[in-house]
Symmetry: C2
Subunit: 316 residues, 2 copies
């Protein structure tokens, strides 16, 4: 899948996944509005199945398989929310899933994936080992490999969150989403720019994994080397498919410090009553940042995702 | 106000407060469903203004004041969510609010009330001192006293949460709500029994503040003496107005231990991604309880409210 999805692909994905994924609510919160001086609309993807927007793309990809393909199952490598998302999407269709996870992944994450009936295959914690192990499984089983973000079906599914946000709140000035591999942000860009031409599109990225921000400045894709941030969902590099979409649509990327992410996370928990993991708090951190290009009075859509946290290991 | 509200009063309240309060979403969560064997529908009142259903009743009471009454303001005594709810409801109408709070109330709660523009008047931490101080303010200012639960306007407002829940999920088998003073539960009883005759109505109460459960067994109102529970929103006694409504409608009250409340609270945080305070987790604790009269397969509406917690002082 080397072509990016069109807005028609995203609308088709929205239709396709409707019976499986939640239409998540858009939350508003007067105390966050007072604090930021903006009118914030939180697309609450932490309330999505498996606690993350990843379930949209995984469901879309699994539902697009032919019956013959589906019979042979799906495979990916991930230690994050995509692992759970693909496992559950496969469970919903009643097909097999092999999830390659590094031995370094927490036991709780492995058990969550196994809880959805997937087969976890452990490997050494290097990208090479992950890719090799997944390739071997695909070769042996005929399973379809589903990349976590650099896949048109995944991007189309991710874009359906912005479709719902703009259907529910049609007159937004700007949408901000987090950037890891760029799947959510690129789907958001395609959906929002088609549905509301001229809408401002901003990315939020941790300072310690700022490959997308550096890529945008350099106007070429720069890979992420040795990331260092608590935003463990945003460590990866942009993909060959996602990068040009971001380059062509983003006004800018606001990079945020881990301490600002923790502040934003606490605000989401205490004010919006939303259990959001660090990665998911980056869009609010971007609004709070001194480097934010958002003026007071702006109507801001925030795509907030990732509610998978360890209550016994909170960052405060 | 000595007569309980009718279903017409509750529908009128719903219409009246619609422009001010949130219509909160109803959340579903497949992992909680698997865990309980039931189909759970969480009416997410922790996402209500001020983080609690209390904002519904306070808004209804404030909007029912005549212009002449409104000019003289409102008054209550509370160290809990009703204090914030009345302060904010008064702010929304642009009128004055005097909130009597015991000197023992945490500074963060006092500042939250002051943040809504209300005047906090401190007093000794006894019920007598609270009532005396409030009476004095009412006498001096002509403000209208708004009781936290034993008031028909408050009960009618509280009942609007059940109205929305049943509009969104019309075929529930049972609704469970927490019981403190009984305002939420009695409003829920009146609304649900009128909208869906025969629906089962259950209360959830902490073991350490089980006056309502004991009242139901004795068939007479028993006051709460020296409560001992982490559910700090459920410490008060039933009111003269709320008690007969509960007596006439409730199938039973499930009492739950603090440890089960903490377990339910953790599940709501980690599975439903909902920041809910201990009091608000009691309905889920009731479903989890070995004493629960809920059979597997039941469609259960849970009114979950109260998201006001201190992240630096969590009960685990």
């Amino acid at each position: 899948m080397t072509a990016p999805p069109t807005i028609d692909d995203i609308h088709a994905a929205h239709e396709r996944i409707g019976g499986v994924v939640h239409r998540t609510p858009v939350l508003t919160c007067s105390s966050l509005d007072r604090l930021t001086g903006c009118k914030l609309f939180v697309k609450a993807e932490h309330l999505q199945g498996v606690g993350a927007f990843k379930f949209r793309g995984a469901t879309n990809a699994v539902l697009l398989l032919s019956d013959a393909e589906a019979k042979r199952g799906v495979c990916t490598h991930s230690s994050g929310n995509h692992a759970q998302a693909l496992a559950r999407a496969a469970l919903e269709r009643g097909i097999q899933a092999w999830i390659v996870m590094p031995t370094s992944a927490p036991g709780v994450k492995r058990r969550a994936v196994e809880g959805y009936g997937a087969t976890v295959v452990q490997c050494e914690p290097t990208l090479q080992a992950r890719e090799d192990t997944a390739s071997q499984i695909v070769e042996e089983t005929g399973a379809t490999f589903i990349h976590p973000y650099d896949d048109s079906r995944i991007i189309a599914g991710a874009g359906t969150a912005a479709v719902e946000l703009l259907q529910d709140v049609p007159d937004l000035d700007v949408i901000i989403a987090p950037i890891g591999g760029g799947g959510l942000m690129s789907g958001t860009c395609i959906a929002a720019s088609a549905m509301q031409p001229g809408i401002r599109l901003l990315g939020a990225e941790p300072e310690g994994a700022d490959d997308a921000a550096r890529s945008l400045v350099a106007c070429e894709r720069i890979l992420q080397r040795s990331p260092n941030t608590i935003c463990d969902g945003l460590l990866t590099s942009l993909g060959a498919l996602t990068w040009p979409i971001l380059r062509d649509h983003l006004e800018t990327i606001v990079t945020v410090s881990d301490s600002l992410v923790v502040e934003a996370m606490r605000l989401l928990w205490t004010r919006a009553k939303a259990v959001v993991e660090p990665s998911g708090a980056t869009p609010l951190a971007a609004v709070l940042s001194q480097a934010s290009p958002i003026q007071p009075g702006t109507r801001v859509g925030l795509i907030v995702s990732g509610g998978n946290i360890d209550l016994d290991n909170l960052p405060w």
